[in-house]
């Protein structure tokens, strides 16, 4: 797949920053909910999620390239920013959390509606991002909050 930007980076950055503004403005509220802002430099937002079911945390990287024309992409990273994937210890698997790379990228991905890799998957072409986009449930921060809940579901394993 051609990865050239579709949306002008300045426009995508403005949209993405507007979407994550509550987190940037009031990080303490989100940290109290287990969503700790680590770093932001467009197009990447890094948030540490509380993986309380396994007594640890894990860092989520969200990529806002082409947002909102295309959905955000997300994967787990090590503290040094390296993408985590199959073979790395301590990564979530099952129940929608995939560890094998996708689209030639050696990194985890999330098979949940609202995330780019879900919508790129051939099995989900009947559920378009354009249809979900107006729903507040699929805003960037809505996706992150829901991902944190799903991360702690029974059935999600830690490698």
């Amino acid at each position: 797949m051609n990865n050239a930007p579709i949306v002008h980076p300045a426009l995508a950055q403005a949209s993405f920053e507007r979407a994550i503004q509550p987190l940037l403005s009031r990080p303490q509220n989100y940290a109290a909910a287990g969503l700790k802002l680590v770093a932001y430099q467009f197009p990447f937002l890094d948030v540490e999620l509380d993986w309380y079911r396994h007594g640890t945390t894990i860092i989520l990287r969200v990529d806002g390239t082409d947002y909102p024309y295309r959905p955000v992409s997300g994967w787990w990273i090590a503290p040094d920013g390296r993408p985590l994937s199959s073979g790395d210890p301590g990564i979530p698997s099952d129940m929608g959390f995939h560890t094998a790379g996708i689209e030639s990228e050696p990194r985890c991905w999330f098979c949940f509606p609202g995330w780019k890799e879900y919508h790129n998957h051939s099995g989900h072409q009947d559920r378009s991002w354009a249809f979900l986009r107006p729903d507040k449930r699929y805003t960037v921060l809505g996706l992150i909050q829901q991902l944190a809940t799903d991360l702690n579901s029974v059935g999600v394993h830690r490698s």
Partner: protein, 241 residues
């Protein structure tokens, strides 16, 4: 007996609705909008104001609304050319115009701009009962609006909490005797309310387990200042459909 309905116009059609505080979702239901449409308040000489499902507008009768495509390039909260002239505590709000440039504002923001923090904001409505405006409610302001503030009672009938829903944090006041299920239902968008049991609420000040749905907030351990996170029990991952 409820207040007599007043007449408003949506897409040039006369519709009846109760006077006073109306939610955007209610007004949208009067016109049977689809997801591809949005409702806008007609404002002469200004950008028309999109009415979101959770926005509150104080209806007096005679308001005119149009219907536009949801994808239209109308800002969710347009900047006004001319400052609004509504009243707060019997005084015109114009002297704060430099701080108030948009067509909508939450009750909490309005109080902050006015320099009043530990107060309740009430909408002063002619011929209908005044209403308390929750801090997180976003008001579609009109020149005819009148508000007043009263010192907030710190009694034990309510909890002032922060609700995190759909990734947005809102300061909200819940009655202590409200059940967890009703607190979730009150927080959800209208389209999600029928599926309230698909959601759960976690009080992160207490731990990570969902609160019992049938328990009152008080019995569940919720208290002033707590942070309540509402999410779906299942985000829909893992299954190819």
């Amino acid at each position: 007996m409820p207040a007599q309905n007043v007449v408003i116009h949506i897409d040039r059609q006369a519709r009846q609705t109760p006077p006073g505080a109306n939610l955007g979702s209610h007004l949208a239901s009067l016109a049977s909008l689809t997801n591809a449409d949005q409702l806008l308040l007609e404002v002469e000489g200004e950008i028309d104001v999109p009415i979101g499902a959770d926005d509150v507008i104080f209806i007096r009768g005679g308001e005119r609304f149009s219907i536009g495509p949801a994808e239209a390039e109308v800002p969710d909260n347009p900047v006004r050319r001319v400052p609004l002239h509504f009243k707060l505590n019997d005084k015109p709000f114009e002297h704060h115009a430099d701080k108030l440039q948009h067509a909508k504002i939450t009750a909490a923001e309005l109080k902050h701009v006015a320099g009043e923090e530990d107060v309740d904001l009430w909408a002063d409505l002619d011929d209908v009962a005044d209403v308390l405006v929750a801090d997180g409610s976003r008001i579609v302001l009109q020149n005819e609006d009148k508000f007043f503030t009263v010192k907030r009672e710190h009694d034990d009938r309510f909890y002032d909490v922060t609700v995190l829903l759909d990734g947005e944090d809102h300061v909200t006041r819940f009655a202590v005797e409200l059940t967890v299920q009703d607190a979730i239902k009150n927080s959800l968008a209208p389209k999600d309310k029928p599926q309230v049991t698909d959601f759960s609420m976690v009080d992160r000040n207490l731990g990570t387990e969902p609160l019992p749905m049938n328990s009152t907030l008080q019995a569940a351990g919720v208290r002033d200042g707590h942070l309540l996170s509402i999410t779906r029990n299942n985000g829909g991952g893992g299954a190819l459909k």
